[in-house]
Amino acid sequence: MIARLHMSIKSVLLAILLLVIGNQFASAQEPVAEAMPSGHTTETKEEGKLDIKGEIFGHINDSYDWHLFNIGEGHEAIQVSVPLPVILFNTTHGFTVFLSNNFHHGHEPYNGYELYVENGKQKIRAQDESSFYDISITKNVLCMFISIFILWFLMTGVAKKYKKNGIHVAPTGMQNAIEPIIGFIQDTVAKPFLGKQYARFMPLLLTLFFFIWTNNLLGLLPFGFNLTGNIAVTLLLALVFFVVMLFNSNKYFWGHIFNPPGVPGWVKVILVPIEILSNLVIKPVALAIRLFANIFAGHTIIISIVLLIFIFSGLSKIAGIIFIPVSVGFTVFMFFLELLVAAIQAFIFTNLTAVFIGQAIEEHHHDDAHGHDHH
């Protein structure tokens, strides 16, 4: 038990590292070639009115700095933000590394690159319109580093204690928090769906669960991030599951896809494409979109409810003031709901990963009644 736990924690860390590297490549943009018709100061909004769309997407999208708050209003507001390193790779110039505050929030170009905002999303383009790869440490990557640090700190501490005391000593401190969760994943997710082979998949399931949960919770903090509400991140998590499923699948899994047993020939013509689509496309994509949509929608709803104050005060000041308690009440309610959703979505992602892998490694049972439900 101790050895397995320790091993699984090591694999957790390794897997997270791989995830980080993978996400770096996922977020490395395709060469940016299209030319923008206008400059970066395309804000045509009226003075004193809040740019609702920009505000919502500014909070949800990834950015090159960690924006904390504004002092003052409108165009002369002082933006307080933590600059993050921008790392750009160009085949002619090689690597360019600098801090994002050199852009002065998109007002000045730097080193031949300039920052512009499109639909509330910060983008970088080369001034000579050459193509480049962007592997910057953005806000989301920073979030990932923070969550890795938290998980590393917690898990290695707990693992050390188990190594020192063994499993027969009553757990202390952080062990009390981690042990029931690991036990919960093992007993309700891994064992029922994966059967005898469950121990092999525990590192993956635990990594997914803790990584998603930590990042969901980081997203709820003030000045927080929106990592799991980013489709690239969730698609990559689903890709990890997909690769694991493919490499562990047995011949019965593929047999059910390409030659469904006990089905007449003409039905196979219809059934085989459906099976291919449902097993190889819909499963991972639905997994990714479910997590993304839940977290993204949660963040959007909270921001929208807060922004309703400003929309109402745009109509009249009194309406805005009256709406403040309503908005605050709804926001608090939504935050509690999101706390629940953060845990539930991490659990559902882990659970469905286990279910799908379980279907792929399932041994053949000798009845022709195929009553599986295919997701």
């Binding site: 949509a293 839940n294 929608a297 959007t300 629940l340 539930i344 979505q345 559902i348």
Partner: protein
């Protein structure tokens, strides 16, 4: 901006809003069914209400996920 583009943008926004509404309808029916089933089974067997409640929340979250697909599609229809 021609009349056609204005009209098309309006239709896109309306489509997004209507789509989100229909998604909410479906999710409402789904969550209602789940709640009904859970309440009936708790009334039948109160001793396993803890298990039933956790499974109910899980199923409700799955339904909610589908509804949120609709919400995302609606947002995309309005924003893009």
């Amino acid at each position: 901006m021609s009349v056609l583009t204005i009209l098309l943008e309006g239709i896109a926004s309306a489509g997004g809003a209507i789509g989100a509404g229909i998604a909410a309808l479906g999710a409402g029916v789904g969550v209602g069914q789940i709640g009904k089933g859970a309440l009936e089974s708790i009334a039948r067997q109160p001793e396993v209400s803890g298990d039933i409640r956790s499974n109910m929340i899980l199923a409700a979250a799955l339904v909610e996920g589908v509804a949120l697909f609709g919400v995302i599609a609606g947002i995309l229809a309005i924003v893009l």
